[in-house]
């Protein structure tokens, strides 16, 4: 193994620039002669949009231009496309209304963009926006899915075939489930909400459009997790610019968590406007604007029932979910509550029959799409709450009921009744590991000790599986994906033996510049200082689908391995020529090519130099150069899994819940950099604890966002969280060469049910069966102090 290769906790290559303030984030970029855009957004949740009078604004100091939806329409600018189509139960297509870049005819959520003011300075643009006169006549609005499907509810998109329902989808075998429920010894039931969240990457979104009149080329600088996808969607569907004339550059990006996957209106707006005004146009979101325009996450309302036999074995599961889409279909929104949610409802269990139906509902709220975990946290939360309720109904131990229903370790590959085939896993190993690390067996003593101090202590378990690296493309396509799901890597060996990797994945905190370099160091036997990783610029990188769904190593890393395979294969040919040996006799190890059974050898750098100075080179059979590209389309998802155990202490006098211990033992497949892997788990767990105890994106019934800033949206802070106990217990993925699975989302998937299971356990003497997230002090205090237990049910 190379010192800095696979398995080494290498310190990150990217850190120096971030630590010294030399990162290059989109808002740090200023282009010559740049103008500034301010977007006027709707303050109404639902209103008819009449005339927009810009005459005063246009005369304000510094104003360059004002554009509205009419200007875009006149230029044939298209709407924002949706990248995944879902079919209804009857096979018909989902309702997919247009999503204009600037509102036309109607505004449909608070924050819907109405007009853009472009001025010399941002302050001037903002001042001028105050002078815009916009005719808006308010309409009744709806924000909650349960209200949106009531007869007579306000309709978000006039003329929808089925009111506010975008699609009514199902999966599984309803007849088998019905038959199993008839034989059930007991049925566990739950109604639950998966609370709406805001991703809140610390860097607000930003975009700069620039048009070069001399060449006709456009450049978009943007805060994106997948610049090629933006180039494809914006170029082909919105602005009708050929890819060859459009460069999309996502430089350093300050966190994404899903919210920077999507193609947003502002990207199209600044790109289009830069040609209209003939100058670069820059837009940066304020945080309040991010709350009103970044795609939100989660927001499910579900009912679920689990049938059990007399031994506590799961017989069947049925689930009915209402999923809030917001006012428009965001880029990947339809895939989240369907193929990334309901397909995970088998979880880690052998439940033989499953049926789930999902209705996706339009409301007058910001569009909802993937947020860290995307569908899988919703599935894990529902299932792991239901399993705890089943244990209570059966009078069984919570560990025992899980183990009794786990997929046996020798049953892989395991075909679930909801489409997925898990390739590998060992759920006993991760649970046993977590029980040990959390000192589970000593819990009752800790509970008794806490009781003496007047505190309510509880412990909760969650055992989960998830699916990463959506693939393969042809299956995803059959299920409605309108894009490929491969990844691309280009390994460019330079003449003196240093290497640049161009990857289609994008790093916005994940440490790709280090992890990918470790793969290359391991394979080529060169130092990390000889390796650079380039990402984010469509003009440099052949193609790429970007970073989301924990795909960067399982899909992107495999593409790197495939490109390295090609490099080594060609280098062996060159080495064979130089050493006058048969290619089959060439061995490559630790950066050296040797001829088997001899002491002849050539260093990697010598081969590189020969490739570019081909004086002694087999030119008749081999091209010069050492630069290889690979595209990799996976055979299957990968399936990380694990066990999270949370221990809480509740103060009944204040209702405040403190997480006192949190343990995560995850199976993420082979670990390339354990330091980075642990960091990913920490971050995911913090977001999961945030969802369970603190965070809530809250709309009132008229569609006004009540949690629109960090004053009201409770971001987890350092003093809200404990240190975490984190470990891995891995099985290898069987269908990629590295055996890697993915780690980006596990923390956010496994943790919320562990926290709520612990809270419910702590409150068991109050007769609490369930408490919806976030379990705020207000809710818990009511349970402990005012006899209003029913309120939390």
């Amino acid at each position: 193994m190379a010192v800095d290769g696979i398995g080494a906790a290498v310190r990150r290559k990217e850190d120096f620039r971030f630590l010294t303030g030399r990162g290059n984030y989109t808002d740090d970029i200023d282009r010559p002669n740049q103008t500034h855009a301010y977007i006027l957004r709707s303050q109404s949740a639902h209103a008819r949009l009449g005339k927009i009078d810009a005459s005063k604004a246009l005369k304000a100091p510094g104003v360059v231009a004002v554009f509205t939806g009419a200007d875009l329409a006149a230029d044939n600018v298209g709407g924002l496309p949706c990248g995944w189509g879902i079919k209804n139960k009857d096979g018909s297509a989902m309702h997919e209304p247009p999503h204009p870049v600037l509102a036309v005819g109607k505004v449909r959520h608070v924050g819907d963009p109405i007009a853009v003011v472009i001025a010399e300075t941002l302050a001037q643009a903002k001042d001028a926006a105050e002078l815009l006169k916009v005719e808006l006549s308010d309409l009744p609005a709806i924000s909650q899915v349960r209200d949106a499907i009531k007869p007579g509810a306000p309709v978000v998109h006039d003329g929808g075939p089925n009111g506010n329902i975008s699609f009514d989808w199902h999966i599984g075998d309803a007849d088998a489930v019905a038959a199993a429920f008839k034989k059930a010894h007991k049925v566990a039931k739950i109604d639950l909400v998966n609370n709406r969240l805001v991703a809140n990457a610390m860097e607000p979104r930003a975009a700069i459009g620039e048009f070069d009149r001399a060449t006709g080329d456009y450049t978009l600088y943007t805060t994106s997790q997948n610049p090629h996808v933006i180039r494809l969607l914006m170029g082909a569907f919105v602005l009708h610019i050929p890819e060859a004339k459009l460069r999309v550059f996502a430089p350093d990006v300050g966190g994404g968590f899903g919210s920077k996957i999507y193609h947003y209106a502002e990207e199209a707006l600044v790109t289009w406007a830069s040609a209209k005004v003939g100058r670069p146009v820059k837009w940066t979101a304020e945080r309040s604007e991010s709350f009103l325009s970044d795609a939100h996450g989660r927001d499910h309302v579900s009912h679920a029932e689990l049938a059990l036999d007399k031994d506590g074995k799961f017989l069947a599961l049925k689930v009915s979910t209402l999923s809030n889409m917001g006012a428009y279909l965001s880029t990947f929104a339809p895939a989240i509550p369907t193929y990334l949610y309901a397909t995970l409802l088998a979880g880690v269990y052998t439940t033989p029959a499953i049926y789930a139906e999902v209705k996706a509902i339009f409301t007058n709220t910001v569009p909802v799409d993937a947020y860290r975990g995307a569908g899988r946290p919703e599935a894990a939360f529902l299932l792991e709450r239901l399993v705890d309720i089943a244990a209570a109904e059966m009078g069984m131990d919570r560990v025992e009921i899980r183990k009794r229903n786990f997929i046996p370790t020798n049953a892989f590959p395991y075909q679930t009744p909801v489409a997925l085939q898990y390739d590998s896993g060992d759920y006993f190993a991760t649970l046993d590991g977590a029980l040990k690390l959390s000192e589970y067996s000593g819990f009752e003593a800790r509970r008794a000790e806490a009781k003496k101090r007047g505190k309510l202590r509880g412990i909760g378990i969650s055992t989960y599986v998830e699916a990463c690296g959506i693939a393969p493309s042809n299956i995803a396509g059959a299920l409605g994906a309108r894009a490929g799901l491969f990844e691309c890597a280009n390994v460019r060996v330079h003449p003196t033996g240093s290497v640049t990797l161009f990857t289609g994945c994008h790093s916005h905190g994940q440490g790709h510049e280090t992890t990918y370099a470790q793969l290359i160091a391991e394979r080529l036997g060169i130092g990390l200082d000889q390796i650079e990783v380039s990402h984010g610029d469509t003009n440099k990188i052949p193609f790429g689908m970007g970073t989301y769904g924990s795909r960067s190593l399982a899909v992107g890393g495999t593409a790197v391995v495939k490109a390295l395979d090609k490099i080594v294969a060609k280098a062996k040919k060159i080495a064979a020529h130089l050493m006058e040996a048969a290619e089959a006799d060439i061995e490559f190890k630790d950066g050296k090519f040797t001829v088997a059974g001899t002491d002849k050898s050539k260093a990697f750098g010598e081969i590189a130099l020969t490739a570019y100075v081909p004086h002694n080179f087999p030119l008749e059979t081999l091209e010069p150069g050492l630069d290889e590209t690979a595209f990799y389309d996976p055979k299957n998802f990968t399936f990380p899994g694990g066990a999270h155990i949370c221990e809480v202490e509740i103060d009944p006098d204040t209702g405040v819940t403190k997480v006192v211990n949190f343990t995560a033992v995850d199976d993420v497949g082979r670990v390339i950099n354990p330091m980075i892997v642990e960091g990913q788990v920490h971050g995911g767990v913090a977001q999961g604890i945030g969802q369970a105890l603190l965070e809530n994106c809250n709309y009132d019934d008229s569609g006004q966002l009540r949690s629109g800033s960090y004053m009201d949206y409770t971001m987890p802070r350092a003093d809200d969280l404990p240190s975490f106990k984190v470990a891995t217990a891995i099985t290898l993925c069987t269908h990629n060469p590295l055996g890697v699975k993915g780690v980006g989302e596990v923390g956010a998937i496994g943790s919320p049910p562990a926290v709520i299971n612990a809270v419910v356990d702590a409150l068991k003497d109050y007769g609490v069966r369930h408490i919806d997230m976030p379990a705020t002090p207000q809710k818990i205090w009511a349970i402990c102090n005012s006899g209003r237990r029913a309120a939390a049910e």
């Binding site: 971030f18 010294t20 610390m202 642990e678 969280l721």
Partner: protein
């Protein structure tokens, strides 16, 4: 427009700014020092923390004109050439950063804590950093970094 003069990272600077200009806007937009970040608009996130006359300040909470004559240190002024300040080095060693966006504010805030408390407990660090939000790390490694950085700063004295 008022003209403001101050010392930033040891250099005298001055600029004409609108009176409503915030210190962070002057640093980023007028002086091109983009290491100091803006992550919110309610003075909650702490990505913009700099030192003004030795004290950590959210530079989005202060008008540029209020810093007239002040000595300002930003994240760009912490390292000596390519040699990281002990707090920066501790963040690297303990993986106290991921996307890097909150990092400048975290480090500047941590440096002030370490000046008062050379051996902060986990509790001390978590309380002190209450005004700095990180979305990536879950704070676990930030706490380790700040504790190690504080010790290293004390040892370097």
């Amino acid at each position: 427009m008022p003209k403001v003069s101050m010392t930033v990272n040891g250099k005298s600077v001055s600029a004409e700014v609108e009176s409503r200009t915030l210190l962070v806007q002057m640093l980023r937009d007028k002086l091109g020092m983009t290491g100091t970040h803006v992550g919110c608009d309610t003075s909650q996130c702490g990505a913009c923390v700099v030192h003004v006359d030795g004290k950590s300040v959210k530079s989005c909470t202060m008008l540029a004109v209020q810093a007239e004559g002040a000595k300002v240190t930003t994240i760009e002024g912490l390292a000596t050439g390519n040699e990281l300040h002990p707090m920066q080095a501790a963040f690297k060693e303990h993986h106290g950063l991921q996307c890097g966006f909150c990092t400048p504010g975290m480090v500047m805030s941590a440096v002030e804590l370490a000046k008062h408390n050379s051996n902060p407990s986990e509790h001390d660090v978590r309380e002190w950093l209450e005004g700095n939000i990180c979305r990536c790390t879950g704070y676990h490694n930030i706490v380790k970094s700040v504790q190690a950085g504080a010790k290293a700063m004390a040892a370097a004295k």
